[in-house]
């Protein structure tokens, strides 16, 4: 399990490891909710979006739980439950790597919420769902593959 996550992670990271290390030092690890981050939301790859958010140096973590179907009944509505057990978690970000615009959102739990969120998303084709958690000035990540199937009949 752990190995799989590592491999997925490496795949994404290969391109931008250097740039992201630099970016991480410059940007505040706690996301400021000043403005909707257009650059990140319009990025066409997960790594570009993470870079725009200053999250691309995230370390692999087992303390983040993603509960999502292995095979989604309908890609238009895929339920995702995310819980972070990392002490001091301040935000949870979601990336659907194969979507045209992978960055799906950031949930700020630093002001009085528990590090948990449930959301439902559109997944265009089978894809890893990547989660990045900000905690104690650092970023942590894990991912879960969700398969999207061909439907039944048109009815």
């Amino acid at each position: 399990m752990h190995d799989t996550r590592r491999t997925v992670l490496k795949g994404i990271w290969a391109i931008g490891a250097l740039a992201s290390a630099a970016a991480a030092g410059l940007l505040s690890p706690v996301r400021a909710f000043a403005a909707w981050n257009k650059g990140a939301f319009e990025a066409k790859s997960a790594i570009d979006a993470m870079r725009a958010l200053g999250m691309s140096s995230a370390e692999d973590s087992k303390a983040i739980q993603i509960r999502a179907p292995d095979i989604a009944e309908n890609g238009a509505v895929v339920p995702i439950d995310i819980t972070s057990d990392i002490p001091g978690t301040t935000s949870i970000s979601v990336f659907i790597e194969k979507n045209p615009f992978p960055y799906t959102g950031t949930f700020d739990v630093s002001q009085g919420a528990i590090p948990y969120v449930h959301l439902r998303v559109k997944i265009g084709e089978s894809s890893p769902v990547r989660v990045v958690v900000a905690a104690g000035g650092k970023h942590y990540t894990t991912a879960k593959e969700v398969k999207v199937t061909i439907g039944g009949c048109g009815g």
């Binding site: 199937t149 061909i150 039944g152 009949c153 048109g154």
Partner: protein, 201 residues
């Protein structure tokens, strides 16, 4: 007098319990209601509500007509099959696979016939795991039955008019109603009969 009255009452009670009368046939009620309530839309005209001889026979007998009636109608249906003039029954199995996958055609929002809807009801090729189970599996169709001219003719004929072989089969009569062209039926026949088709691997 009194006795007669009692008897009449008893009869009425029996009638109310509906044990003295044969069950009422609701088909005429159903038909007139549908004739009144449906309307033509797109290519789906009101004539589609009319039963042809095969449909009527199957409807009236709950898909279980007397053997001699079925035999006679099957013969008529088989006689109406138009076999290819060039005598060739096998087209391109690759085109056949695409037709088998396609479930469109003949509905009120379609222009005409399009696909064969085969996977909706049958397992066909080995690579498609999303297949229905209303009809039997067609995987290894010719590998199991042989590649003879007779089996080729059966496959073509069955796709053209399933009712020519089994009167109340649930399968549509794709050639008979012009839902599929001669070439499309050849391609589907190839999908089932070509030794190179994935179906026979």
């Amino acid at each position: 007098m009194r006795l007669a009255f009692v008897v009449t009452l008893a009869c009425a009670a029996l009638l109310l319990a509906s044990c003295a009368t044969p069950p009422r046939d609701y088909r005429p009620d159903a038909l007139s209601l549908m004739q009144r309530d449906f309307h033509a839309k797109g290519i789906a005209g009101m004539d589609r509500l009319n039963e042809d001889s095969v449909q009527a026979t199957c409807n009236k007998s709950q898909d279980n007509p007397p053997q001699e009636v079925a035999d006679k109608l099957q013969k008529e249906q088989l006689a109406a099959v138009k076999w290819p003039a060039d005598g060739k029954l096998l087209g391109d199995w690759k085109a056949g696979e695409r037709i088998a996958q396609n479930g469109q055609g003949m509905a009120w929002n379609d222009k005409g016939g399009v696909g064969g809807s085969c996977y909706n009801c049958h397992q066909v090729g080995p690579r498609e795991s999303s297949f229905g189970t209303v009809g039997p599996s067609l995987y290894q169709f010719a590998k199991k039955r042989g590649y003879s001219a007779d089996i080729q003719r059966y496959a073509y004929g069955k796709i053209y008019n399933a009712k020519a072989y089994n009167l109340c089969s649930q399968m549509p009569r794709f050639g008979h109603v012009r839902a599929l062209s001669e070439q499309q039926i050849k391609d589907l026949t190839a999908l089932l009969m070509d030794p190179a088709s994935p179906v026979n691997q």
